[in-house]
């Protein structure tokens, strides 16, 4: 099981990414902060069952579950399109802006696969563990994501 010092360090290292992931899913600063805090507490409670090498993936997975729960609770009262994807920043290069908008429109399953492998530089194995899916499934999602991005952007896309 992971020791407390490792957990502490890993949690601090991955904190900025947890926030970005939560924000990406929830698109609301307050909700994202709630999800991060709640995920950290839950991951701490459950750290006993986590192997040292899986600590980062476990934190990410707990955060995704927490955000998803929050999203589901929200869906009960708010239509899915209530919170639109944030517009890409106009100060960015037009190509980057277009790419970010296309990514934000990907279905969640595909978007998370792209985010984890590109933003967090996770290996396929780590990203699959974080998402709780087999590696083959992750690769299939990345393939589908790349295909959809190519379609949306009308250009070749390289991930990672």
């Amino acid at each position: 099981m992971v020791d407390d010092a490792l957990w502490q360090q890993t949690a601090k290292d991955v904190l900025p990414t947890l926030y970005k992931l939560a924000f990406d899913m929830l698109r609301c600063q307050a909700d994202a902060q709630d999800a991060v805090q709640s995920a950290l507490l839950k991951a701490w409670e459950k750290r006993g069952g986590v192997q040292p090498g899986a600590c980062r993936a476990y934190l990410v997975r707990t955060l995704l579950n927490e955000s998803r729960d929050m999203l589901r609770r929200r869906k009960r009262v708010v239509p899915v399109d209530e919170v639109p994807p944030p517009p890409a920043r106009p100060d960015l290069d037009a190509d980057v802006r277009e790419a970010l908008e296309a990514i934000s429109r990907l279905p969640e399953l595909l978007r998370l696969a792209v985010t984890l492998t590109c933003l967090e530089d996770m290996t396929d194995q780590q990203a699959a563990a974080a998402l709780g899916v087999p590696v083959a499934t992750l690769r299939s999602r990345l393939h589908r994501a790349r295909k959809q991005l190519r379609k949306a952007l009308d250009r070749e896309v390289t991930l990672g």
């Binding site: 099981m1 601090k12 929050m70 517009p87 790419a99 590109c118 190519r150």
Partner: protein
């Protein structure tokens, strides 16, 4: 020529805002505090013999049989086949149609499972909407087994997981069943209680259901390489009152204690803060996990309890301590009456009560209602707000109306009187609606003819708050307009404005904004696009210059092959299994018209040009990442594109 794009860490970092520094610091402190304060997990092992000795009773398998059988039959025989049957070959359909939902509700009721008035399935049906497949099954299960899935039996959780796999929601079921040689669920629970008591106190009332609820799971452990190890039991004893702590125990499948922990959240009745009570009361008394889901009794308990709390240290604590949550006074409107009154007062095609709180206000009492306003107009920002009403609890008179939006980060406003909220929480710049109004004013300042930015037939509004600034994009919903971007600080007094021009160069992006991705454009849209491009005046972009030379027929010419036939020819020519073409464009050409078919199932991406009269593939153009934008290949005949290609590529490199 557009280069290929690499989506990497640098690009992705710009997708969402960075963690706010103050929140980063707060969470870092929390991580340090957790590590410093918490006890080390217990590693003492308990023998299998002890566990067997303390086993009290076997799982009463038949106890819930009547409901279980109905639910199992209903889901396995009716609901799952429906979910599987509506999946397309290449895509999993995630929602039930209203007709399917209606059928499911009828079957559920015939089997003794009656959905409540607040059921999300019912609400979807009332609106004639589709609803999530997994949520539908979850609601049926909750109705039969209880609201919290973690408190279902391990057998129920396993069955739920199998069902999710069957409908394609997840790929693997991680909710396993104990096998031969493993402890039963009941044996494991008794062992878990014994472990907690051995370490934290023999008198802990873990089996008193008025104080504790038990969550359980049996699933695989994660290993270093991301694969799964042996399954293990995890039990959590969660308090359902304000004053007890949480205990967690993990057991191996044969009953050795892997880990045992106390979540040190015991609140002392002699020394506690408002925030501690707020967190506990929302955790215990709200099914949604948020204060909006609390009953009036829970609010009353909260209000009474925080009177004895330590002096407030934050705005939130000050605000709650300045508020009162009394018992319902005689003669006041009941909760149901107040709810109905609030819903009647909100003028919106769709509305739903989100939160209702009974508050004291001096010698008066007030019902504060927060009502979600649905919209029949997608994209409408104004109708995505929540209406807030403060109503005199005796007369029902509406004392104050305001709006609330999650973007504005005013989450406590719905639980407090506005007067209290505004005293305790200072404003942090413009609210969302104000920011939009400010952006509109800035854009139209000095314009002889103001842009109709708030007219939903002309623009859709996308406002977003990025920590220290607002970004508002107005996307055209009408070809007469182009994108408008406004970025400004939170106060709205420093801004940059970008207004695209309506010209030939922006026509493509305007068409995409109005008609969606060009992959889905109809022949009529392509035809109009070509006509509009030629009429749009001078162009400078490569794409506009090329499109000006192309004609897209509005209809299939007699004798030409159909879109579907051209697609089949391209797929057959490609020789690979494909879900279909990504984009197809019908182009006027001599001696015959052409179908350009863009396939992305292989690499490199190919654009096949099919003679629309003979069905012959006359060109197969590979597109590699070092080549130019494939849209040129798809939009124009190769003969037109090829001569310009070197020049275009040269410009792209520049």
């Amino acid at each position: 020529m557009k280069p290929p794009i690499r989506i990497d860490r640098n690009l992705m970092r710009q997708a969402t805002p960075d963690i706010p520094p103050e929140f980063d610091a707060q969470m870092t402190q929390m991580i340090d505090r957790l590590s410093a304060e918490r006890k080390q997990p217990m590693r003492k092992k308990i023998s299998v013999a002890v566990i067997v000795a303390i086993t009290v009773m076997a799982l009463a398998a038949g106890a819930v049989a009547a409901t279980l059988l109905n639910l199992f039959d209903l889901v396995e025989q009716e609901v799952v086949p429906l979910a599987q049957g509506n999946d397309e070959s290449v895509k999993v359909n995630e929602q039930f149609t209203p007709e399917e939902l209606s059928h499911i509700v009828q079957l559920a009721e015939e089997n003794g499972i009656t959905l409540g008035e607040n059921s999300s399935i019912r609400k979807a049906l009332e609106k004639g909407e589709s609803y999530w497949e997994e949520e539908t099954i979850m609601e049926l299960c909750k109705q039969a087994w209880g609201f919290y899935p973690s408190r279902w039996t391990i057998a129920q959780q396993h069955w739920w997981g199998e069902t999710m796999v069957a409908i394609g929601f997840v790929d693997e079921n991680h909710n396993l069943l104990p096998g031969e040689g493993d402890l039963t669920e009941e044996e494991a629970q008794q062992a878990a209680m014994a472990a907690v008591r051995a370490q934290y106190g023999q008198d802990l009332p873990l089996d008193d259901t008025s104080i504790y609820a038990v969550s359980r799971s049996f699933g695989p452990e994660w290993l270093d390489d991301g694969s799964y190890g042996d399954p293990y039991f995890a039990f959590t004893f969660e308090p359902v009152d304000l004053w007890h702590g949480t205990y967690l125990v993990d057991l191996t499948r044969t009953g050795e204690v892997k880990d045992s922990r106390a979540y040190n959240d015991v609140i002392s009745p002699d020394h506690y803060t408002v925030e501690e009570i707020y967190r506990r009361v929302t955790s215990v008394y709200s099914r949604t996990g948020g204060a909006e889901g609390m009953s009036q009794e829970a609010w009353q308990l909260f209000g009474e309890t925080i009177q004895g709390a330590e002096p407030a240290e934050s705005a939130m604590e000050r605000a709650f301590q300045a508020s009162s949550y009394p018992a319902l006074r005689e003669g006041d409107l009941t909760r149901d009456e107040a709810a109905q009154l609030a819903l009647n007062a909100v003028d919106s095609p769709e509305k739903e009560l989100y939160c209702l709180v009974y508050l004291g206000d001096g010698d008066k009492t007030v019902w504060k209602a927060t009502v979600y306003q649905g919209s029949s107009m997608p994209g409408s920002f104004r109708n995505k707000d929540y209406a807030m009403l403060e109503m005199d609890a005796k007369t029902g008179e509406i004392l104050r109306e305001s709006t609330f939006n999650t973007t504005d980060d005013e989450r406590y406003r719905m639980y407090l009187l506005d007067s209290v909220y505004e005293t305790c929480f200072p404003r942090d710049g413009l609210l969302r609606a104000e920011a939009i109004d400010r952006a509109v004013a800035l854009v139209n300042e000095g314009r002889a003819e103001p842009l109709p930015l708030l007219d939903e037939t002309c623009y859709t509004v996308n406002p977003w708050k990025y920590g220290d600034h607002w970004e508002i994009t107005f996307k055209p919903a009408d070809l007469r307009y182009a994108n408008v971007h406004v970025e400004m600080n939170l106060g709205g007094d420093e801004q940059t404005i970008e207004i695209e021009e309506v010209n030939a160069d922006t026509l493509f992006s305007r068409y995409r904004s109005v008609y969606g991705p060009y992959n889905d454009w109809s022949m009529a849209t392509w035809h109009q696009f070509g006509e509009d491009m030629r009429a749009a005046g001078e162009a400078t972009t490569d794409l506009a210059l090329l499109v000006k030379q192309v004609h897209y027929p509005a209809e299939l010419q007699p004798g030409d092959i159909s879109r579907r036939e051209a697609e089949d020819i391209a797929i057959a020519y490609q020789g690979l299994t494909a879900g279909g073409a990504q984009c197809m464009v019908y182009i006027e050409s001599t001696p015959h018209n052409l179908w350009n078919v863009w396939m992305t199932d292989d690499y490199p991406t190919m654009v096949y040009t099919v003679d629309a009269k003979t069905g012959e593939v006359v060109a197969a153009t590979p597109f590699r990442s070092q080549d130019s934008d494939p849209s040129y290949y798809v939009f124009v005949p190769k003969s037109l594109f090829a001569p310009d290609r070197p020049a275009i590529e040269e410009r792209g490199r520049e």
